[in-house]
Amino acid sequence: MKKSLFTMLISVVLAFTTSSAAFADTTYTNQDFTAYTGASGDNSPVFASGNGAYIGGIAVHPSSWGSSNWNKPIYRFGAMIVLNNNQRITIPGGYSLNTFIVEDTGDLNNAGNLTYRWIDVYFGKYSAATHQAAINFGKKKFSYTVIS
């Protein structure tokens, strides 16, 4: 009797505590960030999403490695990203930015030795200045929250 009551009690507790967290916002710490520009000579660069490239768009790894997965990013369609702890990235033009929209994919074959949750920040159309700004940005570490 005692044993069966105990089993029932455990079942009830489990039923109360089991809930889906699959779509909760998620924070990732200490991830690589790099910067990129449109290709040289391309006056209308386009993201993998099909949208024309704009400041605030970012690229991420594909959900599985391979160049054929260029249109399958690791984050859900519509995901946005905010840097944690009020950290900011300075973009060409001198403005600070810390809210982003997932629009593009990159490093499709995992050749860059980057963290899995790497973020590539779009710095604008190609010019000597934006190209140099992306090089100067180099590789930095940030923590961020994915809103999806």
Partner: protein
């Protein structure tokens, strides 16, 4: 004494089970008869109300539906449960507003340049996602996404100086397809 304790424990367990069953029934009803799925216009309205509480100068930059667990069913009628809105202010602040099941879940404050050319004008939105998804099915045979970008998605943004609503789905060869509409006239732009 022991008998009384067991009886009491039994009653507690029965009430707990009844509560769990009732909760599960309510959840399943929410999926099948969810009145809280929003159109583009409704999501914009809900998100901007909260954004302007955060900052009265907030203006919309980008509104998008977000993948959910409903698979191909999501967005069939131009409505979705999950939306993200990015807003901007003239003093270079930004925020992401998450809208879930018809209500604003959270405002994530941030910073970013104010770019007037990217600001969506509410006055230029004369057509909504329920009409556009019908048009996309009829005129372009747009099919719902299956896995990533599930169902039909909707994005409100400015493209080439024009407020647009993009409907996202699949073409006949299951490749991602976007149909961009002028949000003022409803004309297809691509």
């Amino acid at each position: 004494m022991k008998k009384k304790i067991y009886t009491l424990l039994g009653i507690v367990i029965i009430f707990a089970c009844a509560f769990v069953i009732q909760r599960n029934i309510a959840d399943s009803k929410a999926i099948h008869f969810d009145p809280q799925q929003l159109t583009v216009m409704e999501a914009l309205h809900a998100g901007m109300l909260e954004a302007q509480k955060w900052d009265s100068g907030a203006v919309p930059l980008y509104l998008t539906s977000v993948d959910d667990e409903l698979g191909k069913k999501s967005g069939q009628d131009g409505r979705r449960r999950r939306w993200n809105l990015q807003v901007s202010t003239p003093d270079h602040k930004r925020a992401v507003v998450s809208i879930r099941d018809g209500i604003v879940e959270k405002v994530y404050p941030g910073v970013g340049p104010y770019i007037p050319e990217m600001v969506v004008s509410s006055e230029e939105i004369n057509i909504d996602s329920p009409q556009l998804v019908i048009k996309s099915k009829q005129e372009r045979n747009l099919l719902p996404g299956i896995d990533w970008a599930n169902g039909y998605h909707f994005v409100l943004q400015v493209l080439n100086g024009q407020s647009t609503i993009t409907v996202v789905g699949l073409d006949n060869s299951t490749k991602l397809q976007q149909i961009i509409y002028d949000s003022s006239s409803g004309e297809i732009m691509n």
